[in-house]
Symmetry: C2
Subunit: 123 residues, 2 copies
């Protein structure tokens, strides 16, 4: 499932707190994001159509919750990026990250720790 930029914002808010009404969602969007209430409703309607979000009525008010899991959305976004920009390989992306000096020293440290932990965990 592919999400547009605006859809990510809605989904992020929804993943953070759900179920939620459109009004509640509005409160949780980053303040830079100033959308009209109806804009949020439109996005939600579209996400419901796509099957990324579930909707049920509470009186006359719609309550929404994510159906698409964040994990999955993330996975497919990364997949798309890798296919598009890194010849389909994770390694080229990672080495880009290294070489382009995008990792701070502390990030590198954290990453190493993750690798070690992961290694002991998984075999």
């Amino acid at each position: 499932m592919k999400l547009s930029n605006a859809e990510w914002q809605i989904m992020n808010a929804l993943w953070a707190h759900h179920p939620a009404t459109a009004r509640q969602l509005a409160g949780q969007l980053p303040q830079e994001t100033k959308w009209a209430y109806t804009t949020i409703k439109t996005m939600l309607t579209r996400l419901v159509e796509k099957g990324a979000v579930g909707e049920h009525k509470q009186g006359n008010t719609s309550v929404y919750e994510p159906l698409l899991e964040r994990k999955n959305a993330r996975g497919s976004a990364i997949r798309t990026l890798i296919d598009q920009a890194f010849e389909g390989g994770l390694a080229p992306m990672l080495s880009f990250l290294m070489e382009d000096n995008r990792l701070s020293k502390s990030e590198r440290k954290v990453l190493k720790e993750m690798l070690d932990k992961n290694e002991t965990n998984k075999e």
Copy 2:
């Protein structure tokens, strides 16, 4: 500079071999990608408008070359993904990669080596 999916394909071909005419480009697109010649021309025109590609005439034929550097395109694509899907942090993305078991054992090994190399290189 943000590239659409189709634009990435053109740019990938152009980065691989340039300068190139539209006709030459056509030859280098992945075979799954079967676009009409004019489709390629349209994409190129749009990329020239955006400043991602340079064009100059060779007789009546346009010869194109990338102006946008692959590095930069990659950087901004990653940036966008991270902001959108990983709370703006590289670490969350990397840990996602770890935990979601998207890395094979060998990829992890390579990654570790890169980290080590990088560390000694850069301080």
